[in-house]
Amino acid sequence: MWAMIVKEFRQVRRDRRTLAMMIVLPVLLLVVLGYAASFDVKTITVAASGPQAAIVSRQLKAPFDITVTAPGQGRAWAQNQLRDGKVEMAVVTGGSKPEVLIDGSQLFAARAALAALAALAHNGGGLPVTPNVTVLYNPGLTTSDIMIPGLCGVVLVFVGTIITSLGVVRERQSGTLEQLAVMPLRPADVFLGKIVPYFLVATVDLAIVLGVGIAIFGVPFRGSPAVFALGALLFLFVTLGFGVLISSVSQNQGQAIQLAMMTLLPQILLSGLIFPLTSIAAGVRWIAYFLPLTYFNQIARGVMLRAEPIGPLWQSFVFLGLLGVLVVTGATLRFRGYLAPAGREHGGPGGNKAVAHPQGASA
């Protein structure tokens, strides 16, 4: 039995991917749970409009953080600030009573805002006159309304990355990639031919999630389907491209899944899907801005819940677009490397059998 233990240790020591998983994963979880996993909202960004905007901005103290004051603007402007995700709360002055608008799609910030307003009113301080408070976009403050848009993203990541990487690795594993290389097929044919089925599957999955969400859970879809579709399309390019990239660095399906999981887990935990971005400690939050799912979440929630137009979402679209181009180009190049005879094939001679061998007589 001792011999088995020694042998296993020796094998594990050399399996870098499993080691990475065994070491990186606990560290990641620790970091996330330590710094990121929090539903506490520490500051609430506020925009103030109307003639008493300046007064209001002095009166509302922590946890409120007045980021914009616009004395010349009215309710419509304030609502747009919320719609475009610029602030979490808006105070509209100029009427008989000040009006407070809260963005219900930022679930935890909204709850925190309501609690803070109630506390201020109770303790005195805050606004002298009790304002009218309206929660926009998710008046019931239900979790499902904000989760379903996020789920759309998860579905696309799942199909895009995991399943695509499996499908392409399978070609490598069964040695048929080489056969494709000598058939009169263009690399683009092979690449697209492999990707399109997963593209369609992902689209169907997305339709199902949206359908069920809207029909059964009553999630609203207030914005432009075209904007949503464009966002989904770009996001899908990114995830499919990642899938192909993962497959091009994996020797078998086991490795592909490992790598896919390692890219999936940070996205689920840090993209704002579960824990709001603002709650994540700044030291860790920067990671989120490199994750594609973060941007798709913003698009999905913005469009579905707040009818956000494409303009304010430009950052997300640009990021996804650029990342998509980068990833798909990388994937195509690597793919073409397998299919075109020009250039060296790594791995040396032979398919599954022979290996590069030292000079000299064989045996």
Binding site: S174, E178, G348, G351, H357
Partner: protein, 273 residues
């Protein structure tokens, strides 16, 4: 048929990093003939065949091969999808090479039948035995009637019965005018081919017909019953020992192809010291 009568390769040199896979290897593959490339694992057979098939570009040297649509290739790992049925695999190959589905089905049916695979047409390729899968792979490679057929170790690990089925397919292809190049570690395969190229560690040790290679064997071969003291030029065969004398001419046994190939390997090894 268009194009030169002779396909082949000249002066091929391929290196992977520091490892030389092929050094100045040439091969000619005449139409209507079977050419065997013989050598052990690591000899460079797969690399040479990949150059011929167009899956790899050599560092130096030239390859004469038909365009992709007129060539067929069987890679070392069969190139068959295990999760498609026999028929589905052949359909994919047919459409990939631009054949009409009807034509392909007809030709495939004849081959499958002759190869004993007709009953397995709807079985998943991954569930076929090794020999049957190789037969399927060869049929898939020759379905579109290529001018050059490159087969990488189609018979390795295949039992003798399936092997004869494979050889029927190969003979049929050659009889139709195709140039067939196949890699093998079996010498009885080499004896069936019209001409042979012997590779060892990337170098061409011998080439020509079986008889030519035997005739060109240098030195003489003796047979001894006891193990000689120095076995660097001796090897066991059939319970006795064969001893090669590079400079001698006192032969006690007539060499065959196996002897000639072994001697060539010994000579090459000696030449490197």
């Amino acid at each position: 048929m268009t194009g030169p009568a002779q396909w082949g390769a000249s002066g091929i040199f391929v290196a992977y990093g520091k490892t030389v896979a092929l050094a100045d290897v040439s091969l000619s593959a005449p139409a209507g003939q079977v050419t065997a490339v013989v050598g052990g694992d690591g000899a460079g057979k797969t690399t040479l065949l990949r150059c011929l098939a167009g899956a790899l570009a050599p560092d130096r040297g030239s390859v004469r091969r038909p365009p992709k649509e007129r060539a067929g290739y069987l890679p070392a790992s069969s190139g068959i999808y295990p999760d498609l049925t026999v028929t589905e695999n052949l359909d994919f190959r047919a459409t990939g090479y631009g054949m009409s589905r009807a034509d392909a089905r007809e030709r495939a049916a004849a081959y499958l039948d002759r190869a004993g695979l007709a009953a397995a047409a709807d079985r998943l390729a991954g569930q076929l035995s090794g020999g049957m899968r190789q037969k399927l792979a060869v049929i898939a490679a020759m379905l579109h009637q290529p001018e050059l057929l490159v087969l990488d170790e189609p018979t390795t690990g295949v039992d003798p019965v399936s092997r004869s089925g494979l050889w029927w397919l190969i003979a049929h292809a050659a009889a139709q005018g195709c140039a067939v190049v196949l890699a093998t570690t079996y010498l009885d395969d080499a004896e069936r081919a019209a001409s042979v190229l012997v590779l060892d560690a990337g170098i061409a040790l011998a080439s020509g017909t079986g008889e030519q290679i035997v005739a060109a064997m240098p030195g003489a071969l003796r047979e001894e019953t006891a193990r000689p003291a120095d076995t660097t030029r001796a090897w066991r065969r059939g319970g006795r020992w064969r001893v090669w004398d590079p400079a001698g001419d006192a032969a006690s046994v007539r060499p065959d192809l196996q002897d000639a190939v072994t001697v060539a390997a010994l000579a090459a090894a000696a030449g490197q010291r």
